[in-house]
Symmetry: C2
Subunit: 340 residues, 2 copies
């Protein structure tokens, strides 16, 4: 398997990205190959000698770089030789089986969607992230690829995220919840109501009905389906709230007693680690013909290593084949050739 990695993506590039790539090698097979993409003069000095690295790592030169805050589509047009469009092109030309970046999320989504085609039967790709919760991991899809969702898109996100949760996270028959503002049938906007009907009509899905925001942390579902705007707010709100709450606890403890604060520190660190989404290596762009992982801008070597291993597992488990197969047999909507 050939995995193309954006060496210049994220706040800790290139050092942490390259370190993560090197760390992953011992877990990969002999025939696997990492392709590091970015300015040669920056990447080469950070790698072991060509002799020692053998065929495990190659470098593809991409002189330019898209910064985190740049407008996605415009930056792709202006900087075709930067690392993000270059890894997308490698995938398009069949030179890479998987792409990974911790760079500008919008640029990644746009480039990967543009260059890698959709899976047969799939209308719109969606980004899936895994939330580690006290009650187990919950896969949320979409968190920002599609902010004009149609019911068929949401239905397909449920299908894809469910197959992902089953084959990657090992959850048997994942329970799918539809994000709404109340559990009752009548609750939600028109898109939610129609999606609910589509989900219900597919008896192969383990659809548990509407869920509310609080349910994500209550162990009522393994997959939460929502449109990209809402999912993105959920993702970032959670991040901000966890940070804010830990800050508040720290502040309160320091007010109390330094000794108590010191004792509590390792507990907090352990919790942070246990519920750290870095463990899952990033977000998958589900629905593109290939494996595409978008990591958080603050990714460390560990995140990148885990993303590489996740891409390997995603490919080994043939999740995409399973999605295509499912969509081909489902009686629901556009999967059978109906319009989006």
């Amino acid at each position: 398997m050939r995995i193309a990695i954006d060496a210049m993506g994220g706040d800790n590039a290139p050092d942490q990205i390259i370190a993560g790539a090197l760390e992953s090698i011992e877990f990969l097979a002999e025939e696997d190959q990492l392709i590091l993409v970015g300015p040669e003069e920056i990447i080469e000095p950070r790698l072991p000698s060509p002799k020692s690295r053998g065929s495990a790592i190659t470098v593809v030169h991409a002189p330019d770089r898209i910064a985190m805050g740049e407008p996605p589509v415009e930056s792709l047009r202006k900087k075709p030789k930067s690392s993000i469009p270059t890894i997308a092109k490698l995938a398009k030309r069949g030179h890479a089986d998987a792409v990974i970046s911790a760079g500008n999320t919008g640029a990644c989504v746009a480039a990967f969607q543009m260059r890698m085609r959709n899976l047969p039967g799939l209308n719109r790709p969606g980004i899936a992230v895994v939330f580690p919760t006290f009650e187990g991991p919950v896969t949320i899809c979409d968190v920002g690829a599609n902010i004009a969702c149609k019911p068929i898109n949401l239905y397909q996100y449920g299908v894809m995220a469910s197959l992902y949760a089953r084959h990657l996270l090992g959850i048997d028959n994942p329970r799918i919840g539809l994000m709404s503002i109340g559990a009752e049938d009548a609750k939600g906007n028109e898109v939610v109501k129609k999606t609910r009907e589509l989900m219900k009509s597919d008896t192969n899905l383990n659809f548990v009905g509407n869920i509310e925001g609080r349910d994500i942390f209550k162990g009522v579902c393994d997959v939460a389906v929502c449109e990209g705007f809402v999912g993105n707010v959920i993702l970032k709100l959670t991040e901000g709230l966890v940070d804010g709450l830990f800050k508040a606890i720290k502040h309160e403890l320091l007010e109390e007693k330094l000794r108590l604060a010191m004792k509590f520190k390792p507990v907090m660190t352990r919790i942070y680690k246990k519920y750290d989404y870095n463990e899952y290596g990033g977000a998958l762009l589900l629905g593109v013909n290939g494996t595409a992982i978008i990591c958080h801008g603050s990714s460390t070597a560990r995140t990148i290593r885990n993303a590489i291993l996740a891409s390997k597992k995603f490919s080994t488990e043939k999740i995409n084949d399973k999605i295509v197969e499912y969509l081909a047999q489902t009686p629901v909507g556009a999967a059978n050739g109906q319009a989006d």
Copy 2:
């Protein structure tokens, strides 16, 4: 001022509701009057004798009750003699200046909107809640009254929540953020983009631009504007996440050492109290012609007492007059008579 209270609303009714009402009396003026609404035979035995309570409390009989899970509109039609429609009618007929309920939120929103007219110039009411954060209180509007928001609605939510934050929370020139999925101008769906233009065009508003989910806890704004579906998810997600995280901490501490867990308990309790939205007494339905507060279903006596005091302050500060005045002078949209 006459404040009508749904004695039967919420999980802790009627005891906690009535207790909260009684607690509030010492903070009210001689001429203020509480109207407790519900089945007389349930309320009366829980009150001081008519002689001792004087004119401070009266009881209005409403024999029926809408349960928490009932479909809002249908339940209002089927049970016109329950406490929620009865307090709404008291407001409509000018027998109450404020209404308070911890009952079925959907039924409250529907009943209050139906019976109390909108403020002149205001298109659609919105629910505002105050999030106590480490960086200070943030008022979020709307959290569920309007799930088909138009740009003019969101603009008006910004205006109302800003006046609320200023005159009720004492925040000078509140900074208004618009919930989106990125800070840049180009980010967001069509409604967000158009709202952004409306907000920008009103130079009297302290509009700070788009915000992301994480920004709510980062002290970048005092008011966060969003459409009701997103706001409702934010509200409930926060609730679930805080609960989940505290549960995780407790679990982790108990694994560690019981002694440490016991030491940490008062710290947690203090944090819980400091960041407890019960302190703010509930959510305001901004934009109706009167004062309407909807409390959480789990409200305690303290919540109800604080809601009563908030309704008093809302009325004393003449927030509604200020909203009407603002909308009359703004050059933006429907406030000048344009269509919704």
